[in-house]
Amino acid sequence: MALACVAMEAIETRGLTKDYGARRPALRSSRAAAPPALADLDIAVHAGEIFGFLGPNGAGKSTTIRLLLGFLHPTAGGATVLGRDIGHDSVGIRREIGYLPGGIAFWDGLTGERVLDELAALSGRPSVLRATLLDRLELSAATLRRPVRDYSRGMRQKVGIIQALQHDPELAILDEPSEGLDPLMQRAFYEILDERRAAGRTIFFSSHVLSEVERVCDRVAIVRAGRLVALEDVHSLLARRKRDVELRTDGPLPDLTAVPGLSDSHTWPDGHLSARLEGDVGPFLAAIASAQVTDLTIEPARLEDAFLELYEPA
């Protein structure tokens, strides 16, 4: 039994598809060219990892999250969250998770404290992490006694993060969690995520901020027009991306034809080379070791570039 729990995926989707026009043929015919909001999504989020879910607006991120939470019904396929089927045990799933919606809204007349109390009561689980989270996100007792309508966007986001995590959920689903947080609070939030991961909890979050995904995520999935275009760990994704290389030598350029991953190479008679390099830089460095290198620039691998490469028109 214990082995089964360890092996269980936190989230697993199988051909998950959502087509908003499928149940309304008239609408469908008027949108004949519109693709499904989500098509054949197959992902597995391992228990205990931080999983980033990336894509531009309209790519299907929110649709996926809403399908997992039971807000939407799949047109085809299915999914399990913490081993529970999204079609049959949505309430059971929501008992085990914490959720931060994008652009979260609260009952504005209530104080922050009342909002957290009422949402904790609705969750039915004690708020074991609230004090810690309040401290880490610097929300004071005086602030919590004010009505939410007086809160800035950042303060609302902090309350949103706390309500999602205060009951120490097995899985937290966070939609654009760092929006509105200042850099210091973003750092505090990343540390909170690291701690949750260390405690064996799973974090699934969507984001537009690629630097934060790169900073905190173990693996990422990238969706485009409702389809999965990449699913791998962040380091592999970075290693695969093509980086711009600039090389200047005092003398002739070395022979680089055998260097794996080198492409788009341009050379000039004065010992200047520009190229794109994919994968391990070791063979490239070995190939230029005998040359009189005067300048070498290998652009750092960034998730943003990998992301943009995946979004280049086919």
Partner: protein, 267 residues
Amino acid sequence: MNGALFMHLWRANRGRLLFVSVALLGWGTVLPVIYDAFGAQFRQLFESGAIPSQFAEFGGGDIFSLSGSVAVGFIHPIAVSLSLVFAVGFAAAAIAGERQRGTLEVLLSRPVSRRVIYGTMAVATALFVATTTGALTIGALLGATLTDRTAELGAGNLPLLWLNGVLLFGAFGAVSLAASASFDRLTPAVGVALAFVLGSYFLEVLGSLWPDAAGLQPYSLFHYLDAQADLAGLPAARDFAILGAVIAAAVAYALVIFPRRDLAAPA
């Protein structure tokens, strides 16, 4: 029914409930007092022919008796407007309003099924309607006591009147809540609910004042509030059954439609 959600709804609405209840209590109290003070003059006025006799039958009763006056008071625009604060205002906003504000997201992310959310809001609507209708009924008793006409009112039958009123405004509440469960925005939900109530009211008033339109009255839910018969201890079981059937149909519709709806991300 979810206790935590119910307490949330209660805390959010108790001030408004107190205000509306006090207003309806006052209105209910005034009716017997007006009858006691001006009943005889009203009778003379109508008998003089200065006012068409149909006006005396507004509300399904004669206004020359205490029970008839109370009956008119129950469907007077003032009482109806106050009662609709919860039957339409609260019920139509219960789900569609939360959805429009974005707070339904937070509710639905808790381990509470949509049916339970709907059921809790339906219970809250019923409780609020029962309380406001109770205030109106108690007001009528208070007014009758102040004018020493308790026996004339048939006070022992007031619970029947209360029940009939709860079923009427409960039916409007159920229809409003069903509309609320059907729309993503508040405006269409309130629009559908108000159109239903106003249409119903129009048919009842038209049938009261224009004999040729009397055949339209059965299509109005107000037609099934027969306060005089209730106070006489002779309620029509058919009236109660029809109002109960409307409530049951609206609840069944909402219980089917709400869990099946796709709730896409707010625009």
